[in-house]
Every structure is written in C-alpha cells, then in structure tokens.
C-alpha cells in the first residue's frame, strides 16, 4: 500500500492582518485532508486565523544556482526611502 502521498506546503496566518508565513509541509491524499493535517501539525498549539496549503509541485521557484536572476546591475539606492532627505519638521 503506497503511503507516499503528495506533499503540500503550508502557510500559516497567526491573526487577521498578518501575512501568511510558510511553516513547513504535510503529506496528504488531497487538499481537503492537507488542511486537516496542517491544522493538526501547525495549529494544535499556535494561534491561527487561517491556513493555506499548496501542492508542493505547483510552487514555481527560482533557482539558487541562477545568480543572474536577482543581479543588481544598477545602483538602486533611488528605490530606498533612506536615500532621500526627510521633510523638515519645522522645529526651529
């Protein structure tokens, strides 16, 4: 009997307003069971508002080997708020 179910990646939201954070994976025969497994595995103690599960094989991912993907050729400091002067608060 094959017990090698697919894995689902689990994303856990502690409370409304928080981001869903990746916490691990569970084995399950289908998405419905994956949610149940994820609840037992990741929410039996931790506070939890919501869980997402995604079939591991459906996750598209960047390749750690591909160093060019995130390469920063230009100086991108112009995207950084710290690169600009703050407004004068007028406390003179």
């Amino acid at each position: 009997m094959d017990t090698q179910w697919e894995t689902y990646e689990v994303f856990h939201q502690t409370k409304r307003g928080d981001p869903h954070v990746h916490v691990g994976a569970v084995h399950a025969p289908d998405p419905h069971m994956a949610l149940q497994m994820a609840r037992d595995q990741f929410a039996r103690r931790m506070k939890c508002a919501s869980i997402w599960v995604v079939r591991t094989k459906d996750v598209a991912r960047t390749d750690y080997q591909d160093e060019t993907f995130f390469a920063q050729i230009l100086d991108k400091s112009y995207r950084d708020p710290k690169a600009f002067e703050a407004p004068d608060k007028g406390e003179h």
Partner: protein
C-alpha cells in the same frame, strides 16, 4: 546555466558554509553532505516516532485527567516532530515511504534510549525531565545546522520540547513531595535512565565515525562530548536540588574546569542497543509494524475517496 566544475562548486559550497549561510534544497551540495543529512534527519525522525511508544504505554494509567491530557499532547508532539523531520529529509530526495520502510524492516537506527522499558509512572516524568533535557541541548545545537530545512524544523521542535521538559519535571516534583515509596520510585527511575541518557549524545569523538565531517560542514556545531557535558552540568544540580542522587559516586564538580566529572557509560552497550539488541527493540518495532498495518484501511479509504472525488 551552470557550467562550473565540481571543484568550483565544492569551493563555493565550503565558502558558503564557512560564512554561516544556510544551504537550501535545490542548492548544489556534495554527495556526502546529502548522505550524512539524510542519515541524521531520518534517524532523528525515527527516534521521534519510536519515542512515542515508551510513554504512550502510560496514557491509560496516567494519574488524573490533567496528567493524562498532558501526556497525550506530548506523545502527539512526538508524532508531529517525526513528520516534520520526514518532510525535511524528503527535501534531500529520499521519500518518506522509503524511510518508513527502513524503520519497519529494522534496517534503520534510532535513538538508543527508547529501547529501555518504562515499568513505573516515574519513568514518564524522568523521560520528560532527563531524556528531553538532553535532547533539547542537542536540538538547540541542530537549530544552527547549515541545512535550512533541518534548522527550521529544529526551531519549532525545541519550542515544543520545552513543554515536554517542564511537564516531566512537574510530575517528578509531585512525586518528590510524596511518600517515601514515591521518592524511592523516582530514585530507582533515575538510576535506570542515567547511563542510557548519557549515551544518547553519542559515542566520544574518537569512536564516532561521523563527527568530523558533520562539524566541518556545520551539520552539527558541537562534539558529542560537549553536548553530554552541557547536559551533565545542567542536570546534576537539578537532581541534587530535589534531594535525589546521581547514580555515579565519581560525579563531582571540578572547580578548575567548572565541569562535572562523570563515569563513562558502557559504549559497547550503546552499540548493541542501536544495532537492534536492546531490552525493548523487538517490542518497539512490533508495535510500530502493527500500528502501520492497523492504519492501512484508513489510508486505503482515503485513496479511494480521493479517486472518486477526482472522477
């Protein structure tokens, strides 16, 4: 995309580990690094799974509802840890099913300590207090491991193990405040678990085949002796504070080193027990096999339901 030679890849890998960066699934890694991690993480997973059994036997007999609920929660945590670790090991390319087969057929190794019997209720408390304290010292170190998925699983596991230690200690304190018979039961349990718990951290470096490589790649960051010494330094004062004895007349604080000296466990016993010849190895594996077979109809039913839903 990747036309680097093996030498360059290895040099980059070593440099990344040396810088303290984590290795992630999909990264290039030396075959021996992958092999060593699969060995360690799967043995660790098996230990969690088998680790449910010595204490699980006491669930029906736990004194009082609160201790029963606590013990159920603890044993459930061990199952959860096993599953977390299997999924961490799977990121290295070995399936959970293959690992479970190795456990069920007796090919895989797991922690020595779960092959000893738990004849008294004090043993449940002692496992939580002594065995889990030793485990947490090891696991806190492994939470710094160079392999990302292992380190992440360890962080979560350490958090839950803190509960395991506290509930064990709490249960021992209750017995320590009890009758002379209850105190004697605790002392007897300490006497039986002391050396198996010292063995848990593994053989001394000179007898360990794996330490040097694991440390070079920061899979672990401390030697077995360091982990064992940390455990002894922490636990001996705790045992004595409750008025119990460490069953080693030579266990005393060396004022110069700041470490407790101790008698070495019987390393041949460790070898025998991890290779299948301990007091309860057969019983543990028989129980696991039966649980696996008894659960088969559930897995089959889920597979059928899933097929129907897909049709």
């Amino acid at each position: 995309m990747n036309e680097k030679s093996q030498e360059v890849l290895l040099a980059e890998f070593d440099a990344r580990v040396a810088r303290g960066e984590k290795i992630e699934p999909g990264d290039w890694m030396p075959a021996d690094y992958r092999k060593e991690l699969i060995r360690m993480i799967s043995q660790h997973a098996h230990s969690e799974i088998v680790g449910q059994l010595p204490e699980g036997q006491w669930i029906p007999f736990a004194p009082g509802f609160r201790r029963k609920l606590t013990l159920v929660a603890k044993v459930q945590d061990e199952a959860g840890h096993g599953q977390l670790l299997y999924t961490a090991a799977e990121t290295l390319g070995k399936s959970r099913e293959a690992m479970m087969d190795e456990l069920l057929t007796g090919k895989a190794k797991y922690a020595n300590v779960f092959n000893y019997p738990t004849p008294t209720w004090a043993d449940v408390g002692i496992i939580g207090w002594l065995v889990d304290t030793s485990a947490v010292i090891n696991q806190t170190m492994l939470a710094q491991s160079s392999y990302g998925p292992y380190a992440r699983a360890m962080k979560r596991i350490c958090y839950e193990e803190a509960f395991h230690i506290k509930q064990g200690y709490d249960s021992i304190v209750a017995l320590a405040k009890g009758t002379p018979e209850q105190r004697a039961m605790v002392q007897d349990s300490i006497n039986r678990w002391w050396y198996p718990t010292l063995m848990m951290s593994g053989p001394p470096t000179k007898l360990s085949e794996h330490t040097e490589r694991s440390m070079k790649w920061k899979i672990k960051t401390k030697t077995n002796e360091q982990v064992r010494q940390e455990f002894i330094n922490l636990i001996v004062p705790q045992i004595r504070a409750l008025g119990f004895e460490v069953p080693d007349p030579d266990c005393k604080l060396n004022a110069q080193t700041g470490h407790f000296e101790y008698t070495q466990p019987d390393w041949n016993e460790l070898k025998r027990v991890v290779n299948g010849d301990g007091p309860c190895n057969k019983e543990r594996l028989d129980t696991r096999r039966k649980a696996h077979e008894d659960g088969m109809w559930v897995r089959e039913a889920l597979a059928v339901a899933n097929k129907k839903a897909a049709a």
